[in-house]
Amino acid sequence: MKKTDAVIIGAGPVGLFAVFELGIMGLNAHVIDNLDKVGGQCIELYPDKPIYDIPALPECTGESLTKNLLKQIKPFNTEFHLNQRVESLEKKDHNWIVTTSDQEKFETPNVIIAAGVGSFEPRKPPIKNIEKFEKTNLYYAVKDKNKFKDQIVCIFGGGDSALDWTVELSKIAKKVILIHRRDDFRAAQHTVGLARDLEKEGKVEILTCYQPLDFKGDESIKTVEVKHDDGQQKNIEVDSVLAFFGLKMELGPIANWGLDLEAKSLKVNTENFETNEKGIFAIGDICTYPGKLKLILSGFHEGALCAQECFKRAKPDEKYVFRFTTSSSDIQKRLGVK
């Protein structure tokens, strides 16, 4: 169990700036995110798209914004816990016990939910009872490629993951069948070329303009039924299936924590951005209140105000004195200014 002043759920720009606001007050934080990298939507969805409404930055990108925020919080040596999702929050006296999907546990007086639209989860094909196959031979990511040795592997998708693994697994699998809904692949053209070469050698079979209709089998998938755009259907025998249909955002376990929700957002007060539970805050796109705007700059403001309340809860015996970064020697020491 790790004890900390605050746990921040979500490593997007708003979560990162909350680290800064807590940090200059002398509070430490752990940040948890379900993605494998920091930056949230800014990095996952639109790293190259320009953003024009960050104060004093006439133009930046999701990627550069994230980089600069990481630079800004560097003095605080924040610990990030990536590739895991917060599964539960339990009350323990004045504190909260936070448990992640990897069974990491934290005890903290402050939980700041900066989770945007929710966590990124693999998008599943529209097939009934698909969950039962997830326990056996249906995968949304490759953790151990040796599992696919000498197998007939069916890969769905047209992006980099689908094409990269088609090429890679063709080296050890008995056969790889790549299925995509259209003739164009959005993956890197070089990899598409490699896959097409492997197709000519007979190591890979590529079926385009096909979509999955059904996965058949008792406990594991034995046959994949696919349908061509022209209506023709096909059954393919497989040993395992890899589905790369990208990621989608889901509120996930947050909905089960007994917090007041409005649509898919968490209701907060605008004084300290606390939810209906003491010590649980929501900032950024995930929170809602009268007049809420889903802007990164609003999330920064919300983080600054919520940090004030976090201080009171983390250090109930200390009196907080508001200070400016320009003049406070305490803050400057924490920032490593010499």
Partner: protein, 106 residues
């Protein structure tokens, strides 16, 4: 102001007058039409504003860009008339357009 008819998967219809220059996605979100999530806020980056455009309107709409084609890979049950509504900017000539919403987004 072009009138847009949104038909939910359950058949419920919503007729909304949307200002020129707004997208079909924005028309839905700003008027509380359920069934269009628009998680990314219109950046053509998430495929959660997927609609089926009534066939006779398809050729009045701007052509699909590469990013829309790519993102449509992620939409739920795409058909030939599938579009991402954040890319469909309304003009006077779209007055009367009808879009059907999918069973779910993503």
């Amino acid at each position: 102001m072009p009138k847009v008819t949104y038909i939910e998967f359950n058949g419920k219809q919503h007729e909304v007058n949307v200002e020129n220059g707004l997208s079909i996605m924005e028309g839905a979100v700003q008027n509380g039409v359920p069934g269009i999530d628009a998680d990314c806020g219109g950046a053509c980056a998430c495929a959660t504003c997927h609609v089926y455009v009534k066939e006779e309107w398809l050729d009045k709409l701007p052509e699909q860009g590469d990013s829309e084609k790519d993102m449509l890979d992620f939409a739920f049950e795409t058909k030939k008339n599938s579009r991402l509504s954040c890319q469909l900017i309304l003009e006077d000539k779209h007055d009367g357009i009808i879009v059907n919403l999918p069973e779910k987004q993503g």
